[in-house]
C-alpha cells in the first residue's frame, strides 16, 4: 500500500455500544474518580501531598469504558503508570533545565518501556508527562511521585473497577492479571 493510500484508512469504525454499557461506564468512572478525589480532598488537602492527577481521567476511560481492552487490564494499568511515572521523574531530575526535552524524552521513553514490558497503558504517557510539567508541588515529591499519587491512585481506581465492573451482568474484569 502506498504512503498516501494508507492515509485513506482501510477499515471502518467498530460498532457503538448500547445504553446499558454507557451507563455502566458512567457509573464506574464516577465512582472511581470520586474515590480518588474524595480521599484527596478529605485527607490530603492542606498537606504537600496530592492523590489526583490528570492521567487518571484517561485511565478511567479504559478501565470503566473499555474493560475488555488489553490496555485496560490490571497489569497495564499499574505497570504502565508506575513505569512511566518513574521515567518521568528521572527525566525531570536529569533534564529539568531543558523542559521541552525532558517532556519529550519522558513520554517517548515511557511508551518504549511500556511496550517492552507488555504494560502499554496510554494514560501512562500522561503520568510521565505530568512528572515533568506538573509544577512545583509535583517536582517536590521526587520519586515519591511514583507511589503517591500515581501508584496509590491507580490502585484505588483498580479496586473500584473490580468492584463495579463485575456487578454488570455482561461485564467481567479483568481479562487477565499478569
Amino acid at each position: 500500500m502506498s504512503y498516501w493510500a494508507k492515509m485513506r484508512g482501510a477499515s471502518q469504525s467498530p460498532p457503538g455500544v448500547g445504553l446499558a454499557e454507557i451507563l455502566w461506564s458512567w457509573l464506574g468512572a464516577f465512582l472511581g474518580i470520586a474515590a480518588v478525589a474524595y480521599v484527596n480532598q478529605r485527607w490530603l488537602a492542606g498537606t504537600d501531598l496530592l492523590l489526583i492527577i490528570g492521567s487518571f481521567g484517561a485511565s478511567a476511560v479504559l478501565i470503566y469504558g473499555a474493560v475488555k481492552s488489553p490496555l485496560a487490564q490490571p497489569r497495564n494499568l499499574l505497570g504502565g503508570h508506575l513505569i512511566s511515572a518513574a521515567i518521568g521523574v528521572a527525566c525531570y531530575q536529569w533534564l529539568g533545565q531543558v523542559p521541552w526535552l525532558a517532556a519529550a524524552l519522558a513520554v517517548a521513553t515511557a511508551i518504549a518501556a511500556m511496550h517492552a514490558s507488555k504494560t502499554l497503558h496510554p494514560p501512562g504517557g500522561a503520568s510521565a508527562l505530568i512528572a515533568v510539567i506538573g509544577g512545583p508541588q509535583i517536582h517536590a515529591l521526587g520519586f515519591f511521585y511514583v507511589l503517591v499519587p500515581v501508584g496509590l491512585g491507580a490502585a484505588i481506581m483498580l479496586a473500584v473497577a473490580l468492584l463495579v465492573n463485575n456487578l454488570a451482568p455482561h461485564r467481567r474484569y479483568p481479562e487477565f492479571w499478569l
Partner: protein, 199 residues
C-alpha cells in the same frame, strides 16, 4: 503494516459486515477494528487448517492391545480370533515382530475358486452344489495366507500420512510398530474417523 495473508480457496468467506454484526452481538466495547479481526481470523483459520492437515501422531489414535496372530497359527484359529474380536484384519507376528497382515479379503481371495473376490460370490458357490471353498484352508496357517511384507507405521506417523497410505495401497488398517518392529497397536479407518482427521 503486515501483508494480508494470501487468499486461498478454503479461506473463510467472512466479510466486514459479518464481523460488524458479530461485534454488535457482543456487549461492551471491543477495542479492535473489523479489518484487524478479519486478518486475525484468516490467519488463525489457516493455522487451524494446517494443524488438521498435519493430523495427529498414530499413537494418539491407534487401538492398543490389538488382536494379533502368529505365523504358525492355524487359519481356523485366525478366523475364530477375527470373529471374536470383531475385526476384519489382524497383524501376523513372528518372533514378536509384525511380518504380515491377514484380512477378510485374503480369506476371500483364497476361497474365490472362480476368481471371484466378492463375498457374495463365495456365498453363491456354497449355496450351490459346489464343494466347500473353505475346506482347503483348514490345514493352512496364517503365514501361508498373509499379505507380506506388512505395511506398517511408526508411533509418530501422522494420521494424514496413514490416510494417504491406506488410499494408495487400498488397505483398511495399518499396524503401528516400534523401531524393533514390535506391535504397539493398529490404526483402522474407523480410528481415523474417530480422530476427526482426514480419512
Amino acid at each position: 503494516m503486515p501483508q494480508p495473508p494470501p487468499r486461498q480457496p478454503q479461506d473463510p468467506q467472512i466479510d466486514e459486515q459479518d464481523i460488524l454484526r458479530a461485534m454488535r452481538e457482543i456487549p461492551g466495547y471491543l477495542d479492535i477494528t473489523p479489518e484487524d479481526f478479519r486478518q486475525v481470523y484468516a490467519r488463525a483459520y489457516a493455522h487451524a487448517l494446517e494443524r488438521v492437515r498435519r493430523g495427529l501422531p498414530a499413537e494418539r489414535v491407534m487401538t492398543r492391545e490389538a488382536a494379533a496372530v502368529a505365523v504358525d497359527t492355524p487359519l481356523t484359529e485366525v478366523a475364530r480370533i477375527m470373529a471374536q474380536r470383531r475385526v476384519s484384519g489382524v497383524p501376523v507376528l513372528q518372533g514378536g515382530r509384525v511380518v504380515g497382515l491377514i484380512s477378510e479379503k485374503d480369506f476371500l481371495d483364497a476361497m474365490g475358486a472362480q476368481g471371484g473376490r466378492h463375498f457374495m460370490e463365495v456365498v453363491a458357490q456354497c449355496l450351490g452344489q459346489g464343494p466347500c471353498l473353505a475346506a482347503p484352508l483348514r490345514a493352512a496357517t496364517a503365514g501361508e495366507l498373509m499379505s507380506a511384507p506388512a505395511v506398517v507405521a511408526g508411533p509418530e506417523t501422522s494420521t494424514s500420512e496413514i490416510a494417504e497410505i491406506m488410499g494408495q495401497k487400498g488397505i483398511n488398517r495399518v499396524p503401528v510398530v516400534d523401531s524393533q518392529g514390535r506391535l504397539l497397536g493398529i490404526v483402522s479407518r474407523a480410528d481415523l474417523l474417530r480422530a476427526g482427521g482426514p480419512a
